[in-house]
Structures are given as C-alpha cells and as structure tokens.
Symmetry: C2
Subunit: 182 residues, 2 copies
Amino acid sequence: MASAGGRSVVAGSGYNRRMDLYQGTIRKRDRRAFLPQAIGAETLHRILQAGRMTPSSKNVEPNRFVVVDDAETRQQLAALSPIAGWLADAPVIIAIVQTQEHQFDAGRAAQSMMLAAYNEGIGSCPAHLPEERVAELLGIPGDLFPNRVIGFGAIDPARDRPPRAVARKRLPMEDLVHTNHW
Amino acid sequence: MASAGGRSVVAGSGYNRRMDLYQGTIRKRDRRAFLPQAIGAETLHRILQAGRMTPSSKNVEPNRFVVVDDAETRQQLAALSPIAGWLADAPVIIAIVQTQEHQFDAGRAAQSMMLAAYNEGIGSCPAHLPEERVAELLGIPGDLFPNRVIGFGAIDPARDRPPRAVARKRLPMEDLVHTNHW
C-alpha cells in the first residue's frame, strides 16, 4: 500500500460512484498521470473480472494477465521504452499475454478493463513495449504472446487536463461515418 | 423502420436503462439473435459516438465506420462467410474500416460501441469477413483497411440463452492471473 502525504491510502474504494455505461465509453480518456496510492484489492479484482468476462473470437479466451505491483518490476517495465517512463508511476501495471495472438481480442479486453477501472476513478493507458523484453522480464513462457501492458492508477485531479496533443476535439462525426456505402 | 407483429417499433429508445459501467463490462455477451425492429437514430448515434471517442494509439484516430442498414447490403455481407448468416438478421451492421491498420485499436473501439449498445438493450457480435470482399461490396478505397463488421440488434428475450458452446463458465480467475511474474 502506497503512502501519500503521510497517510496510507487505497484508491478505488469508490465503486458506489457507478458511472453510466454510455457516459463511461465517451468520457474515458487515456491518462498517464496518477496519484501514488495503491489500488484496492476489490477494485483490482473488478478490473481483472472485466477482462476475464470480455467475449473473445470463437470463445478461445486467449488473454492472460500479469499484475505487476512490485516497484522494481514496474521501473524495469518503464525502462523498456523511451516513451514509457510514465509507467513507473502507475501503481499497478497489467500485462496482457495471449495464448494465441489476437490483437483485436486484446483490444476488447483492454478496453473493458480500462472502463471498469474508470468507473472507480482509476485512470489508465496502454503501452506497446518490446515483446521479447517483456517476456524476459516477466518470465513469460516462449509459446505465449505478450501483447500490451496497461498502467493503472487513481486519477490525479490536479493533473487531469488533457495534454495539448490530445486537447483538440476528435475528428467530427461526419468525417468518420458513411452509410451503406463509402 | 422494421415492423414486428404488425406494429412499427424502434429499438433502443431505452437510454434511461442506464447500466453501471462495471456491470456492463462483465455482463455483455456477444449475441447473434436479434429482434427485427430497427435501431433508433439516437441510439445509433450514441453507439457511433462511443466508437469515435475511444482513445487510439498515438491519437491517430484510425477508425472509420460504415453503417449498413440496407437489407440487400446486409444480406450480401452475411453471404461473405459460411458462418456469418446471422448478420442478415442484424438490423444494423457497422463495418470498422481503418486508415492505418491497428487491430488493437479496432478492438477497443468495437468494445466501446458494443457496450454503449448494450446499455440500451442492443445486442451485438463482431465478425471477421474476407477483407477484400467487404471492401468491394462497400466501395472502400484501396488505401484503407476493412477490419471487422459488427452486427447490432435489439436483444430477443426469447432467444437470449447463451448457446451451449459458450454456456460454460469462463476460465477461472486463478488460471488467468499471475502476479509480478509468470
């Protein structure tokens, strides 16, 4: 359990926040700045449960999850990419590892986990680290496929403004949608 | 607008159902049996909005959406695979087409759209159809990447039992999760 401001605190006990499903899908931004507090065991369980229950192609259930909360291992993961330094400050990193490579299904499960986290004030962002290095560091057997890692941590209200690069609006709906034919 | 039992009905006006975000992520099953009623315009807008607002790697926003509600085109899509016949009975099919191929980001957006739909009693399932045939049928420019199609339709309570193949429980949590090291 991390210490913040001299008090031991645990993030994510706020399950009673209960965000509406649709509002969650449109509000969830990827965040890379977190409060240092640990993520509560029940919250972590719900995040993993969301990954576990996400449907998969042909019901293969290819996804496995390595939960990394050890500080040294988190720092080692963060060091695997020059743009992944923020991962060291994520109290929990979950590595998605697949028994069969299926990027689309990894993305589905990742999104479900990140939304379940967001429901409790936990921010998150995926990162694509060099797969062989992740496998080596986490002891992943050679017949499995490391996919993404996701950093999770309580949203820091003081640093919750979107970075300038993503502060712009999304592309307008009319640029994205076609009807019946391109 | 489709007719069911002699009355014109529109599915998905039930936004006030408001499902909790976490409950949505663990309850959403992939469904391939739908009521024939059309999906309301506001519901469809929310489904697309969920796709639009889903974050993407490097904020590239690679996803485009072709909404297919024309019956003939839906039947033609359904005919592209021997196991996709159920798509013909989905009142709306959304094809995800990418400006840059990124399966993980397609999966994230797909999951968000399917969860937003589920919030309003709309079931869904993705299908992977032969990409060149989808491109040809929908007139997708050659420099884009058809990814998945997703069939959407109001959940039919009378046919809402899971098929036997997926009625079994998911793999137990302890088989899926490792901590700090595999």
